[in-house]
Amino acid sequence: MRPIPIPEDRHFRPRLIGYDPQKSRPWLERTVYAAYVFVFWLIVIATYAGVPALFGALGWDGGWGFVLMRVLQVVLLFLLSAVIALLLILVLRKYLGKVQERFGPMHYGPAGGIQTVFDALKLLAKEDFVPAAADALTFRLAPAVTFVASFAMFAVIPFASGWVLADTNVGLIYLIAVSTLSAYGVLLGGVSSGNKWALIGALRAGAQMVSYEIPLALVFLTVAVWSGTLRLGGIVDAQLGLWNFLPLALPFVLYVIASLAELKHIPFDFPEAESELIAGYNVEYSGMSFAFFFLAEFVELFLLPALIVVFFFGGWHGPLFGIEPGSLAAGALESLYFTLKTAVWVWIFLWIRATLPRYRDDQLMEFAWKAMIPLALFGLVLAAYMRLIWR
């Protein structure tokens, strides 16, 4: 009779890197997040102080040298957005896991800290598939449009005083334009997929984002009226005495709600409602195209809280401890303040996402047109009136 071999190790077990199942070790997790934020901070310093200093030392700060400098800065900002996406996806998964009494990713890296890097590598290795029913050109173009529309917002975000790519005096108008445009990529992606769910998701995205764009733009205008400038640096400077969220409490609340809708975040995640539309507009996407949709979403999850900080929470302002303003150390400290304030707001957005259930689609539109827009107009008039009296 044939003896049946007993397998030595009958289980498939994942390889473990720095993993202790007995402990959840929250300090290790926080260290990982802090490391990501530190990398983020270093890239910000390199982008806004390092590169201009380097080009200044080389004497390449005019003509084509200036163009090259800007290109290098944009490349660094792309790196920055990758770091943002890696960190935010990790934090989202860990945080939602905690809320739902799970641990989230634990296996790769300290406390699961490099799980998202592996995810990104997996997406890179996957086939970028174009379905037969899709309009191939538009299908390929849509993730790029979505990502560029989100990424373009970086141009006017001031990380510290003077640390901004284009401190233009039409920054707010530019922001309104760019944030509307991100709806367009989603729309193109959904329509060109040749899939019913994607089409419905795209139509929902178009309707929702175009509707919530109006209160968002009205809040931008309110901030502009209150600060007397369309320049983002000017808006931050105008908050030196009092942060805007106190006098502009109503527009502030409206901005938070509208930016949740703009982010396609729970409770307004109709374009990608998993239970109804599988994943909405990005059903048919795979590989790097899908990764770019994801990247765009998480870059926006950084940028809209960053705009909250710029508009309502004093941007980079914070105690400087006697460091001379304008120096490199002051810029670094200011950008750290900005980063930390933004991190708090990203956390609040994730907290909202973890708490609330999804709205209903018609209620969503009703809320935009019957509540948000009138309130935003009221806030605009109120801000203009207050500015007339107080200043």
């Binding site: 309009d135 233009t168 005096n169 108008i173 334009a177 329509v191 175009v210 764009e213």
Partner: protein, 156 residues
């Protein structure tokens, strides 16, 4: 350098504009139209008016998604038939007429760019050109009300 930028922007604007009118796929046509408008915004930027550029950018960024929505919702197929010969002829005629009509604008100026601040633009819009501004607003309001009336009659 700005001359290089001008030629690059103008060339791409022309290419995308031609693609917008020649392609049969309407979603693609809307997309290339959007790119044309954004490149024209870049031209405004080169002409020293960032405010006008930003407004061009904003208006089209808001309008193009809605236009694409209309294309998806209102048209049966997403591609249109190619233009007929008389349509091409009429188009060329109109382009020539426009060229003659705006001849003064083409050869205008001394090559010097005077930057325009948003404040100047706003003041000009609301003081010097106030009447035209208001007339345009009333026209848009009329169009909106008319659209609502037409839609209700159709539905009711």
């Amino acid at each position: 350098m700005s001359l290089t930028a001008f030629y690059a922007l103008a060339a791409f604007a022309l290419v995308f504009a031609i693609f917008a009118v020649t392609t049969a796929n309407m979603v693609r046509a809307a997309f290339s139209l959007a790119i044309t408008f954004f490149l024209i915004a870049g031209l405004y930027l080169l002409l020293g008016s960032p405010a006008l550029a930003a407004i061009q950018f904003m208006v089209n960024a808001s309008a193009i998604p809605i236009m694409t929505l209309f294309i998806i919702m209102m048209t049966q197929s997403r591609s249109s038939a190619g233009p007929r010969t008389w349509q091409i002829a009429a188009g060329l005629l109109a382009a020539a007429a426009a060229l003659v009509f705006f001849k003064g604008a083409v050869g205008h100026g001394d090559g010097q760019i005077t930057p325009v601040s948003p404040e100047t633009l706003g003041v000009n819009l609301l003081q010097a050109a106030l009447l035209l501004f208001e007339v345009a607003s009333v026209l848009l309001l009329l169009a909106m009300v008319g659209a609502i009336v037409l839609a209700r009659r159709r539905a009711g």
